[in-house]
């Protein structure tokens, strides 16, 4: 499978995750979000950027519990809770946000 973004074809796996992390662009995130009928706001980007930084630092996509805690630490308690994150990413903050961020599916996610 593949998506079209920024005039490029970007490969994805059958679940919609990018096969090559380095092929990610902001445009790709927008296209992936549009497929889920989500328009990315600053709040979404904040989480996506956080995930990309986390992956860069630790080479894994965080489990949802770890993500929630870490977001709370970095962006404040009002954002580090599942209600806030599920409102932004209804299919699961780890699963769906990681997909938009071009990361693999978090380890341990089914």
């Amino acid at each position: 499978m593949a998506i079209e973004a920024d005039g490029k074809t970007i490969e994805t796996d059958e679940e919609g995750y990018l096969t090559d992390l380095s092929s990610w662009t902001e445009g790709a995130a927008k296209v992936l979000a549009a497929q889920d009928e989500i328009e990315l706001t600053d709040s979404h980007w904040e989480v996506i950027t956080f995930l990309r930084d986390y992956y860069n630092e630790y080479q894994i996509a965080p489990a949802v519990r770890v993500l929630t805690k870490a977001i709370g630490k970095k962006l404040g308690k009002d954002k580090g809770n599942s209600k806030y994150l599920y409102e932004l990413f209804p299919y699961g903050p780890a699963k769906q946000a990681c997909r938009f961020a071009g990361l693999p599916k978090p380890t341990g996610c089914v």
Partner: protein
């Protein structure tokens, strides 16, 4: 969830990274297992101590081109996996010291390590 029993899990790591899949597999099992809120410890014995060596460089452009999963050991704290133990003799006979490791560890002698093993409900060996 209230009657859930917390068990003590020890992961024993005895292989160097990259040469075999053991180190990475162990780490992935630790991360998956961390979701279950158990009491987790990691032991590094024999060549397993090399898994924690600082400054691993594996980049695609100038290296072996595989993921540098040593960085992931630093994420363990966020997963509430904070008990990492290194076998003193294995460390010393490889010319390493605590300063060579990329995470904080406790260095254990044989008696301490044997006691740690005995205290466990489950020992997983890699």
């Amino acid at each position: 969830m209230e009657d859930e029993v917390i068990k003590k899990f020890l992961y024993v790591n005895r292989k160097a990274p990259y040469g075999t899949i053991y180190a990475l597999e162990s780490l992935e099992v630790v991360l998956i297992g961390a979701a279950f809120d158990q009491d987790v410890s990691l032991a590094f014995i024999d060549d397993g101590v090399y898994q924690l060596k600082k400054n691993q460089q594996t980049s695609v452009s100038s290296g072996i081109g595989v993921k540098d999963f040593s960085k992931t050991y630093r994420a363990l704290e966020g997963y509430d996996v904070e008990k990492l133990y290194v076998d003193k003799k294995s460390m010393e006979e490889r010319g390493l010291s605590e300063d060579d490791f990329l995470v904080d560890v406790q260095v254990f002698d044989e008696a301490q390590m044997a006691e740690l093993m005995e205290q466990q409900d489950v020992v997983l060996s890699f």
